[in-house]
Symmetry: C2
């Protein structure tokens, strides 16, 4: 649940996301093969036009290193060693770009480090706007990002995650925002892509069983309610807390495309909803360490969604915010350790191509 480049995801920063993203790392593996296929088949712009690959919602870069390196390796076979390849990493202005640049410079698998003709840059601006000149993008990639909404469309009276709310109005407002944002994301990328250019997206989804993560979401809300009971949180603060993420269904993803399977010149090539691997559960099955199970999922949640929750704190500044993070992480870990369950992680992987104009 990282890395939106919408407009609402606050971040803890200082490399927190880079350190706690195992769940995402596992989930994106099946999408890398789609990106590799795209790198194999995408038409290359004639030199000296730039060859541009962009990562939308890169966060601090850790989970970008491997897919981008895999794509560049294939492009490199096609171009030979001397053609420059430009990498564009985008996220919100408040993203920790210093961590991104350090990851690019230092991670042993970073292609920006090992290939002298790979040039990386970053754009700190919402991807609901056009970020690069029209028809210049050859290959777009976005993983674990477009589930973040561009804004919080409504408060949720009985939950922090709309998918588990019983409030019809909240669920409707989230669905409407999700639909708007999906169209906005796709239409901006359609503008940026060259004819024949391709876009691969991995994101959270809903399958026939729904949004997933149920034990995690329930435990998080319980832990927050306990913090109200302990008078650490005001009820009003809890009421304002929202995780503005959505799991779109197959129908939601398809909605903009109509009967011709095309939207703003983007054609849908592939859409698969699949189940992400729960590596934390796998560890638990091996070692039966319930505390480690709880601690790992709590750490994941801290890095991915606690900053959104903490933005509702009304007072106390940085010290109270830090204590909020620590208390919620502990409360969540404890609850999850009581009865470890495999987490449902519904994901979607998609590939689009820009039709010739």
């Amino acid at each position: 649940m990282k890395g939106g480049s919408g407009a609402v995801r606050p971040m803890e920063g200082h490399g927190a996301y880079n350190r706690s993203s195992r769940v995402q790392a596992a989930g994106l593996v099946p999408a890398i093969s789609l990106l590799q296929e795209a790198a194999r088949s995408v038409p290359l712009p004639p030199a000296p036009q730039p060859l541009i690959l962009a990562d939308y919602g890169c966060s601090e870069g850790r989970n970008s290193i491997r897919p981008i390196a895999a794509a560049v390796a294939i492009l490199r076979e096609r171009t030979g060693p001397s053609r420059p390849i430009s990498l564009v990493f985008t996220d919100l202005p408040e993203n920790d770009f210093s961590a991104l640049f350090q990851t690019l410079a230092e991670d042993p698998e970073s292609i920006a480090r090992s290939d002298s003709q790979v040039f990386a840059c970053a754009i700190g601006r919402s991807y609901f706007e056009q970020l690069i000149p029209a028809e210049t993008l050859s290959l777009g990639w976005s993983s674990w990002s477009v589930q973040w909404l561009s804004r919080v469309p409504a408060k949720i009276p009985d939950q922090v995650q709309a998918a588990y709310s019983r409030d019809e109005a909240a669920r409707v407002a989230f669905a409407a925002q999700a639909a708007d944002d999906w169209r906005a994301f796709l239409s901006r990328r359609a503008t940026e892509l060259r004819p024949g250019g391709q876009l691969v997206v991995l994101t959270m989804a809903s399958d026939e069983r729904g949004f997933g993560y149920e034990p995690l979401v329930r435990a998080m809300y319980e832990a927050l309610e306990a913090m109200v009971a302990e008078r650490f949180l005001h009820a009003r603060e809890l009421h304002a807390m929202v995780i503005p993420t959505v799991g779109r269904s197959r129908a939601d993803f398809l909605a903009p495309f109509g009967s011709k399977g095309e939207f703003c010149g983007l054609a849908l090539g592939e859409l698969q909803i699949f189940e992400g691997e729960d590596r934390i559960w796998n560890d638990y099955e091996r070692d039966r360490n319930a505390e480690a199970f709880g601690a790992e999922w709590a750490r994941f949640s801290r890095a991915s969604v606690f900053p959104s929750l903490a933005s509702a704190l009304e007072s106390g500044g940085a010290p109270r915010s830090a204590e909020f993070f620590n208390r919620l992480e502990a409360g969540l870990a404890m609850r999850l350790a009581r009865e470890p369950q495999r987490m449902a992680i519904p994901l979607a992987r998609m590939a689009f191509s820009r039709t010739a104009t």
Copy 2:
């Protein structure tokens, strides 16, 4: 004295530089006209090749907004409204890029905000490396940056600024590093520039009277010595403190160019050493407020060079570092207020063009 994209300039961050850069803002005015001339005369790449303007050592962007907007306004007259223009802002990985992106999005004079066909990105990597693909840069700009060395070449036994040291070995080591860095900076830009592309540089310099800033440098060293006497600083810490900036002379700037006036395909078009306007002194002449004079110069120094000094602190972590900043700022302000003097601010403005290959 801001904004090297060498390898040594630490930064206080959180917008500190943006808030305390009046001296630099005044100093760069005479260089903007050179940049405008370059924007008027530089050959434009045929579409759909990108039209790229880069700012080397952008810091948090405040002092980039005006020169970049002035250059783009001229390019825009030449291209018409629809041609995309790419802006590349570079600085060290640890620069506050969030502040940069916020400045670009929010400053009323930001051209990236007002022109929908201007696309900005950032590169967090030393400009002593090649940062963008060869022969893609139309217009380069660097202000108040290349006076920062890529590394600290030597300790200085009797000063923090080599220009005011009596230690011959230290002065020689700084001069050698300055010569190496200047060649490295120019040769990388020569690679990046398109044939006919132009580069405009504003940087600190030395004139017939030397490095300038003498009352400031002397007062800073006195304040540091007082902190040793008060046992706030260890003598060993003071000894390790260095501001790794240099003011190159006309001869230093010319050295790489040889008799043909060319280096790595770069031809020197103009080189002028001039005196920067001391706006803080101008204020003092008007209002005779000696305390404000001291406070303003101390604030300037805090944002520009205190981080370099603080990197020599051996213990005490963030709280001691914060106290170091506050004490040094107070000690410096007090000393400068005793006897306000106009500060010599020798600067150099230069324009280069890439010869056809």
